[in-house]
Amino acid sequence: MNHLPEVWGRPRNDVYGAYDHSYLQGSHPMQHTQQPIVTGTSVIALKFNGGVVIAADNLASYGSLARFTDVERLKQVGTHTVVGAGGDISDMQHLYEKLLDSLIIKEEYQNDGHSLRASHIYRYLSRVLYHRRCKFDPLWNTILVAGWDDGKPFLASADLLGTTFSSPALATGFGAHLAVPLLRRVCPDENAVKSLTKEKAIETIEECMKVLFYRDARSLNKYSMAVITGEGVEQVPLSGEGKEKVHVEWKKDITLENQSWKFAEGIRGYGAQTV
């Protein structure tokens, strides 16, 4: 037994050789977050004439375990914007509760008639995500930013690499594979937005949530939806310029309806069956 505390609890030098301190020097590569742990799945969103609708389910998975079933993954940011996040839930909470909350409070300090709109919040989030990936310590999320901006619906996505992308129909995670084709069926391009009604858009989103529940093994039959609509323009005294009025309608704890399972009765599987 050696009396030096530094060698307590580690292999004997005479057997294993002296302790190799080299890893304590700063020259070795640093590794940060390796993987998401508690995760949320898809977020989907669709523009329509006069607004945007966005939805995400309430599940936080721990591997394949449905760990938490009451997680809100959509967040209203200011008056014009709703953000949705998939990926690591702890990073999502950091983004929502630390970064975005303090961003909005700082904006409220001024009380000068200015407010951060969807495009501003989107730029901020994509900068944060890109900054973190440059530190090789990414926030493990894909986010959608939906809102009303400059008289038009706004919808764009950003991911953990800082990749940014915009389209009238967007989905993250599994939704990118399963929901986007369905969304594009009703809204193939920016022109189609004008002829898409709010009701049809909501109906399409509901349909997508159902398909995702059928086919995404990390999804839940309970979800939240936010509908952001432009409500015209309010005149600002003195400047003569208009200030947009925006309405955000929330639907929480929605349970999937009109599922189709009955056909299972008629299905017969493998083997020589008689019943």
Binding site: I105, K106, E108, N111
Partner: protein, 271 residues
């Protein structure tokens, strides 16, 4: 001030032989020249009001706000050197933000006042800085304590109040505040009193100058519209400007009471 210029008043952080810190007292003088600011603590919230002196008719009316939001549930009104007030406010915001970051919850008003007292005090300790030429009234509403009203002076001293007044018209304002049955009134009643008191204090001290009345309140979001009951309302409040119609009404009543001439106790507030 009895003994100025004895040589002990030339540097901050120096005591005179009789144990006074003159630079702090002089900073208080700067406050006493400032526009009047008052705070009224009620059973369902807190009201802040300031007399914003208007130095020129070229100034944009309604701009150049004097009451600041420190956090969603806290407002801060200052009297004294305005740039110092901005610095002080910005520190208060940092304190509130760092509390939020650390504890995931808004800062209790008393804790904020405590920290700001500490900050002001630090500026009395060193000859390399000067004290703040500012007295700050901090108003807020939190979950444990309900409505809270604190006043922090250049020395770093901070007390809790039911009715607080500072600035040029503080004596007149204090006299009026003492007549109110605080804290057993509602913020809606207090708005009218606050307007009257600011008009009264202005009339008493800076009659020759123009001023704008600026008012904010902190109220509990859920009870903001409901009639408040008997006891003290608790919960996180929201700091916001008093609605324009209410300010206009309060100013109208205040002006009427000035015309009646001093006998303002007569003024009844119905609610």
């Amino acid at each position: 001030m009895t003994s100025i210029g004895t040589g002990y008043d030339l540097s901050n952080s120096v005591f005179s032989p009789d144990g006074r810190n003159f630079q702090v007292e002089y900073a208080t003088k700067a406050v006493e020249n400032g526009g009047t600011a008052i705070g009224i603590r009620c059973k369902d919230g807190v009201v802040l009001a300031v007399e914003k002196l208007i130095g020129s008719k070229l100034l944009v009316p309604g701009s150049n706000k004097r009451i600041a939001m420190v956090d969603r549930h806290v407002g801060l009104a200052c009297s004294g050197l305005i740039p110092d007030a901005r610095h002080f406010t910005s520190r208060a915001r940092s304190e509130a933000a760092s509390w939020r970051k650390f504890y995931h919850t808004p800062i209790p008003v008393s804790s904020l006042a405590d920290r700001m007292g500490g900050y002001a005090q630090a500026y009395t300790l060193y000859s390399s800085v000067r004290p703040f030429g500012v007295t700050a009234i901090i108003a807020g509403m939190d979950e444990e304590g309900g409505p809270g009203l604190w006043m922090v002076e250049p020395s770093g001293v901070g007390w809790g109040y039911f009715g607080a007044a500072t600035g040029r018209g503080r004596q007149a304002a204090k006299a009026e505040l003492e007549k109110l049955p605080l804290p057993n009134i509602t913020v809606k009643e207090a708005v009218k009193h606050a307007a009257r008191i600011i008009y009264f204090a202005h009339d008493d001290n800076s009659k020759d100058k123009d001023f704008e009345l600026e008012m904010t309140w902190v109220r509990h979001e859920k009870l903001a519209t409901a009639e408040s009951g008997e006891g003290i309302v608790k919960g996180w409040g929201k700091h916001e400007e008093v609605p324009k119609e209410l300010v206009a009404e309060a100013e109208k009543l205040a002006k009427e009471s000035m015309v009646e001439g001093g006998d303002d106790e007569e003024m009844e507030v119905e609610e």
